[in-house]
Symmetry: C2
Subunit: 173 residues, 2 copies
Amino acid sequence: MTPDDMMPVAVDAETALAGAPPGHKDELRLWLRLLTCATLIEGEIRTRLRRDFDTTLPRFDLLAALDRAPAGLTLGDVSRRMMVSNGNVTGLATRLEAEGLVERRARLGDRRAQMLRLTAKGKREFARQSAAHEGWVAELLGGLEPADRAALFRLLGQAKGSVRAALSPEETP
Amino acid sequence: MTPDDMMPVAVDAETALAGAPPGHKDELRLWLRLLTCATLIEGEIRTRLRRDFDTTLPRFDLLAALDRAPAGLTLGDVSRRMMVSNGNVTGLATRLEAEGLVERRARLGDRRAQMLRLTAKGKREFARQSAAHEGWVAELLGGLEPADRAALFRLLGQAKGSVRAALSPEETP
DNA sequence: ACCCGATAGTTTAGGCTTCAAAGATTGGCG
DNA sequence: CGCCAATCTTTGAAGCCTAAACTATCGGGT
């Protein structure tokens, strides 16, 4: 319960020259802006998925994961790719199965796992949704200069690297 | 129900020279990377808020909004700032009130609205959480060169502008 | 052959989130 | 004054999400 010494935080190098209180305000502002962008886009996509296809983003994401893996995926695979919990996928898969978009089938030789695959209906449905989705994203980010878009893409890669690097030590003990 | 002509999508100008199928893949890749970054960071912050303070991100965000407005905010104000629905804030406020971090009080002259304010305990609690939070973000994004961080910040501003521009026409009829 | 740690999935409890509909109040207009 | 449209909040139904506990199965070492 000593809230002060839990914070490995890079209190080295450049902090010295920055002076003042720790002053990690820059990173914070960056994070808040990143979050705003993501929230804005995500919210709009959710709204349109509901409006035009009467579906949700998690459903769409699950279909997308399966679409990229014609041989099917286990629930665990899906959970890792979507970066969501196990139990979450169970429920999602159950609902999509009930709608006939996805099918569970046993995996030979391992009675623990089951493969999840798109049904024909699921493929058709996802193709429709996917085309619209791609258009929406292009519409929302179309205001960016191509050069800016490329630069942003690269810098986000850097950011991703920074986050993963900060995460991996404790994540894999 | 004609799913084909609902898609205002910029099918003009640069699409012509790009050739091929509509080919908005660039924007899509950019969006997916942006989303990955946000999800990664957000997930880590959620985990740590739970682990270290036994709280959640929405609670933290609500406290943060109130902390920036010493005079208090109506539930509606909070809802707009957090970009979440009205009903959502009701429940959030109720739980935080039960924990003694926030208080509802009637607004003079308008019995429909109520002001939400931090209690003394809420202020203390948020100060602790906020300091840790700032450190976490700095840790996660600390791997970025300061110049890259600045560039990223600027480009995200552009992206935000692009999204808002694409949104505002239909959002305000 | 048996046990035991690792892996796959489900369940449960609790919280977050949205949309839509309902309640409560206000302020203005005839 | 009385109505009514606009504003603020709450409620209810449904779905999403996590952590943690539980079940089932697998595979290897003794």
